[in-house]
Subunit: 323 residues, 2 copies
């Protein structure tokens, strides 16, 4: 089987060669722009690696992998309208570059294109793969809606937050590995286990994303404290809210819109509370816990453990454990 | 086979029973609201009637018919955002009632739901039906983009206008009859012919819609002259532009935003030009021509002509020919 670097390059080539009509330009140009914007290609990698666990021909999963990546990019396109986000992966978002209507409609065309790619799977597997894809796609929408709902709520529990990211982040990873496994010929039992693996991996991955926003390295490209300045409910924030006394909660609720404070002061104030409540450490613990669970499930598949090595390495490259 | 009234009522029941989760409410409530908004159910009727030409069991096409109607309602939901339309079928649009973000995301979930309904077709037909659905769906997006492009263009030819409505209106009707025919067991040749039928019917139907906006009966619910007041490029407008001399064109281009005129005066001014250029009559001729072509193709199917009677009656109920 190809190395992970080779798989990544095969995916990039396949996406770059996905043929899009030239006209109408405002419908299709944003799709090419969005697809060429880079990113980790995490989801198609999971499709390919999952297929490779059960089959020596991981490349057969390429159309489905591209479908999943196309769908993911569609969600980013529409999310950027809803979040009013002008920048995506260091470039203007489609929304910022072409405006709202183009972003809505080319996003729609992008979702349809993902189903078109998906229709390239072997006909005998199409019914179950389409059903899995649909379920996954709806869950991602549910997650995005809950995420938007949370911004309007004064209080969100840790349990509700975890449920939201299970839908918004893990569902797509879970669907990706399930589709890869089906294509590779996995048993239903192994398919279920891989979904559990991806679910836990997705939680670890999202919590790490939340953590890096407050405690990451600015050189890695992401500005520190953006979530705090937006008053966003992250794992860190909902954990802090659940552990704080009422006066501290009030500070957490208000700091981000306190006009007397500079951005740096707001970030410092919230992080002081996080530190006092041990939020960083608790988040790191949760990431480790979820990641360990993911690896344990991966190890329980009914295949020669050597076949899961590449997936394990890939998962380890995604999540940085601090114990 | 059921009468057309019975088919309609079966479709309404099926749509009403389509199960939607209760939560998150802002994702799913707009879907139920949109689906229950009525309308002619033209597209699902075409799926059922097309299936009924080839099979005595038209009801087998119900999930696919619902999928096509769900998709159509999704397009209305997103079109209303793009067109900033506050009213849909006499009720507030989803966009007006719940806001833009809810309309975007519940529209997305609605499109996914249409694919979920589609996945209920017999597995052996799924690959070709999914491919047909995807092609149709992309064409509808292309049509909507051309329609938006046209609003920015000083001049649109009649040929370009017809191409746009082939995509925006006819593609969905053509996909609907093709899917119905496949489910009924039609030959490829009959399937192609039915698509041609639906394409011509769709053109007649859209041109009639354009005509009614300027020459319809206000009692039928649609206000007269809305397209004229919006400066919209309809078949009447592009035909008038193609026949007018330059000074008259300038009047046509400017009247709708002439602030010295009342709405009634704007409408009267444009219709005077239409009348002078024989636009009404030419449009009626084009509707008859397209409708006659549709019926001729319908008559050429390789089935007992009695089997096409119901489809013929239904088509006749849609288009009012003035000869």
């Amino acid at each position: 089987m190809q190395t992970n670097e080779q798989l990544l390059s095969v995916i990039e080539n396949y996406l770059a060669q996905t043929e899009l009509p030239a006209e109408p330009e405002l419908l299709y140009a944003p799709i090419g722009y969005s697809l060429s914007g880079g990113g980790k290609r995490l989801r198609p990698m999971l499709v390919m690696l999952s297929c490779g666990i059960f089959s020596d021909d991981a490349l057969q999963a390429l159309p489905a992998a591209a479908a999943v990546e196309m769908f993911h990019n569609f969600t980013l396109l529409h999310d950027d309208i809803m979040d009013n986000a002008a920048v995506r992966r260091g470039k203007p978002s489609v929304f910022a570059r072409w405006g709202q209507n183009v972003a809505i409609l080319s996003g729609d065309a992008m979702m349809i294109s993902s189903y078109r790619l998906l229709s390239g799977v072997p006909p005998r597997l199409l019914p179950q793969i389409l059903a899995t894809f649909n379920e996954m796609a709806l869950e991602v929408c549910e997650g995005q809606q809950y995420d938007m709902d949370f911004e309007m709520k004064p209080k969100v529990s840790v349990v509700d937050y975890m449920h939201m990211i299970e839908l918004k982040t893990s569902a797509l990873l879970s669907g990706a590995v399930a589709i890869g496994a089906m294509l590779g010929g996995a048993s239903e039992e192994d398919c279920r286990k891989l979904r559990r693996f991806a679910l836990e991996l997705g939680l670890a991955f999202q919590l790490q994303d939340d953590l890096l926003d407050s405690y990451g390295d600015e050189e890695l490209g992401k500005a520190i404290g953006g979530d705090i300045l937006e008053g966003k409910k992250t794992y860190l924030m909902v954990t802090a809210m659940s552990r704080a006394d009422e006066p501290t909660r009030e500070v957490l609720r208000r700091t981000y819109r306190d006009e007397r404070l500079t951005d740096a002061e707001k970030i410092a104030a919230v992080k002081r509370i996080y530190d006092r409540l041990d939020v960083r450490h608790l988040t790191e613990q949760q990431i480790s816990l979820r990641f360990d669970r993911a690896l344990a499930v991966l190890g329980s598949l009914s295949v020669d453990p050597a076949r899961t090595l590449r997936m394990r390495e890939y998962a380890e490259s995604l999540v940085d454990r601090k114990k």
